[in-house]
Amino acid sequence: MSEKPSRLILGPFNRVEGDLEVRLDIAGDHVEGARVTSPLYRGFEAMLVGRPAADALTYAPRICGICSVSQSVAAARALAGVRPAGLERRLPPANGQHAINLVHAVENIADHITHFYLFFMPDFARATYAGEPWHEAAAGRFTALKGSAATQILPARAGLMNMMGVLAGKWPHTLSIQPGGSTRAITRAEQARLRLMLAGFRSFCENTLFAAPLEAVAAISSREALYDWAQGRGGDFAHFLKIAQRLDLARSGVTRLRHIAFGAYAGGDGPLFPRGMFDAGIGAAGPLPIGAITEDVSHAWYAGEGGAPRHAAPTPDMSNPDAYSWCKAPRLGGNVAEVGALSRQLVAGHPLLRDYVARDGASVEARVVARVIEVALVVMAMEHWIAAIDPAAPFQDTRPRLDTGDAMGLTEAARGSLGHWLRLDGGRISHYQIIAPTTWNFSPRDAQGVPGPLEQALVGAPIRAGETEPVSVQHIVRSFDPCMVCTVH
């Protein structure tokens, strides 16, 4: 192709959850600028206003079918947070916490492997790579719906999800997660059965995904050590690493932003993965100023003021000529921030991911590695939570709660930080705002004209000769594991 278009519109952008359009400005053989559009608006925030408080637990999970439990956890925490000023938050009993952690972990882990096998890896089977020496093996293994991985991953995923049948009754859209704990008490026999189900999934991980014990994978502490580990090893993770090295994905889709995490999997001694902020520009971690979170709607289809989610509630309006998305632009103290598994592990101080980012910044490879490493870390934690359940003790605290007041509920979905901010008046919802992980990552420009994380990551993406759907762009977009239905909600 001699005269390349200076504009490229990509959409429908598939193998992401929900609807996405990406507009690229092209200069020669690379991307010069990007605008990311979320083209679907449903209006959950407005829908919730006026409803009885508990209805949030029926509506919120239905924001998203891929991370419905994360939405439940955020809503339940927000409802539980409505309390008189100065009074301690009433934590659910330990059993309830373990049960919620397990339900949440099953969903997050299922998300990670769904993303890896069904959404991300099929791009390596694309015809544009036909000339690469590794292509034939990748295509045989990962071609969408037809590769040999599909009929292995689906039963393993479904087997893991069977834990939901015991712990939560039904997934997605369970109602088992409540402000005071979990509605489902677990018996000794069920505790044993959960252990068996998880053992089945561990064995899938150790045979098929890693070809190694989880403990060995979790302990890898530098990029060099990871590459050495992958040398000559079978398993799909090593397969990915070998392709990623050939394509230099550790230097693709790079950002050097603030990474934030709201804290994941609550426990008596604090969350498994802590709350905090990590500045990839300077390589330092610190506390997260939640109060500095705002949303900007200068380039989104809304009327009214943005601002702190506790107060602001912009309404849909397609008349803003600068707008190009239904996604708002969340900012932390006015700055762009990235969220996700990589951000969680950077905040938590995982040496492997800190090493990745110290060398080349946050990249396609680092984001995927963080996600896959997290599978190992979380499965090991789940074994402890199952063991810690005491079937004789309560699973929830059902004492009545306050019906007037403000609160927020913060958690981590697979793809990053999720927050709900609400106000109750006399038992009814009078204000509800949601900031989802992909709202951070796929945010449009803000009033200062600063692009969001994906828009920044796409700048410089190479375009191979003749490509109309640049494969580098496919990798970069999917490396964020976006969920577009959450983004706008």
């Binding site: 519109i9 509506y59 959404f119 834990m163 939901m164 039904k170 109602l175 109309t468």
Partner: protein
């Protein structure tokens, strides 16, 4: 179009679209077990031309497939829609523009539907509007053949797909994977007729029974031994809004995720397979009552009889059920009286 039972002569070409929904029906479908989804699709001779979450084709390649289906040059045997059709704001369809085209998604749905042999509304959103139509329905969400309980929808009342059937409404929020797989296997075998659908065109394969059937709490129901809080063991009809006696689905006889259901999970059935479930007119997990008697009693039972029987059975409730109903774990277990001291 019919095929000799069980042996379609060529693969059934399926296109799956998503609009105003949450993707939960696709994610639920991925949980198909024994065998897995890919094997189930093969067994039904279904070839997926395009699915937004599962296909290789993206962007222009995907648009080419959909455009060919929309102008009839690419035959489509089964069109699935997940999520509601979005008509707002003000009837423009602007709340969901199809990515890469700048045109309302409902136009693409309607264009492919005009040529498809069979059409499946996957989930309550695509069937009736669903949750997306909740809270006053500011986005003007509707279904393919219904808007709530009103016939019409995007395709109009009385619509028939090329193959002669109305839109098949696999309602549910989300669907159970088995409901979908049953349906496509029957389509592939040529055995699904209008007689296999109920009054909302839902497959009788899963709506010929009530959620109440097979509920582990039926013994409590019989004696009106009621749960007081979510998570208690008793029947949830009296206090916690359970609609299992009206809801049509096989949730308690066909397990979710291996062994579960809403009821085994410790929370009520909210009748998610029915049009309008999103606006019950009361809190989902509370039972509205008039002078202590729940409104919304079992639909096929005269109220006076229900009240009379309930007071009778309440008087006869065994101690075991009375004690256990309002607790999350049983205090009294069944015992064999032949054992001394029992």
């Amino acid at each position: 179009m019919t095929y000799p039972a069980g042996t379609p002569t060529r693969p059934l070409r399926l296109i799956w679209l998503q609009s105003g929904g949450c993707g939960g029906c696709t994610l639920s479908l991925l949980g198909q077990q024994e065998p897995d989804l890919v094997t189930a699709l093969r067994a039904a001779h279904v070839e997926v031309l395009w699915h937004p979450s599962l296909s290789e084709a993206t962007g222009a390649e995907a648009r080419a497939i959909l455009d060919a289906a929309a102008d009839g040059t690419q035959p489509v045997d089964i069109l699935c829609l997940e999520g509601s059709v979005i008509h707002g704001p003000n009837g423009t369809g602007g709340f969901h523009l199809m990515a890469g085209t700048g045109r309302p998604m409902r136009d693409m749905i309607g264009a492919i539907a005009a040529h498809a042999t069979h059409i499946i509304a996957v989930g309550s959103c695509a069937a009736f509007g669903g949750i997306t139509a909740g809270g006053g329905n500011a986005v003007e969400a509707g279904g393919l053949a219904y808007n709530g309980t009103r016939a019409g929808g995007l395709l109009g009342a009385g619509f028939r797909a090329r193959g002669g059937l109305p839109v098949i409404n696999i309602a549910g929020c989300p669907i159970h994977p088995g409901w979908f797989v049953d349906t496509i296997l029957q389509l592939a075998g040529g055995t699904l007729s209008a007689a296999d659908l109920d009054e909302w065109e839902r497959p009788l394969a899963y709506t010929s029974q009530l959620v109440h059937h097979g509920c582990a709490r039926n013994e409590y129901y019989e004696f009106k031994a009621s749960a007081e809080e979510l998570g208690d063991l008793g029947c949830m009809m009296e206090n916690l809004g359970c609609k299992g006696t009206q809801a049509r689905a096989d949730c308690n006889t066909r397990a979710w995720n291996g062994s579960g259901s809403c009821l085994t999970g410790g929370y009520p059935c909210i009748n998610c397979t029915a049009p309008g479930f999103e606006e019950p007119g009361h809190s989902f997990s509370a039972t509205p009552k008039i002078s202590g008697i729940p409104i919304g009693l079992p639909t096929d039972m005269p109220k006076a009889w229900f009240v009379a029987l309930a007071s009778l059975s309440k008087a006869a409730t065994p101690r075991r059920l009375k004690e256990n109903a309002a607790r999350p774990t049983p205090a009294i277990l069944p015992r064999d009286r032949r054992k001394e001291g029992a």
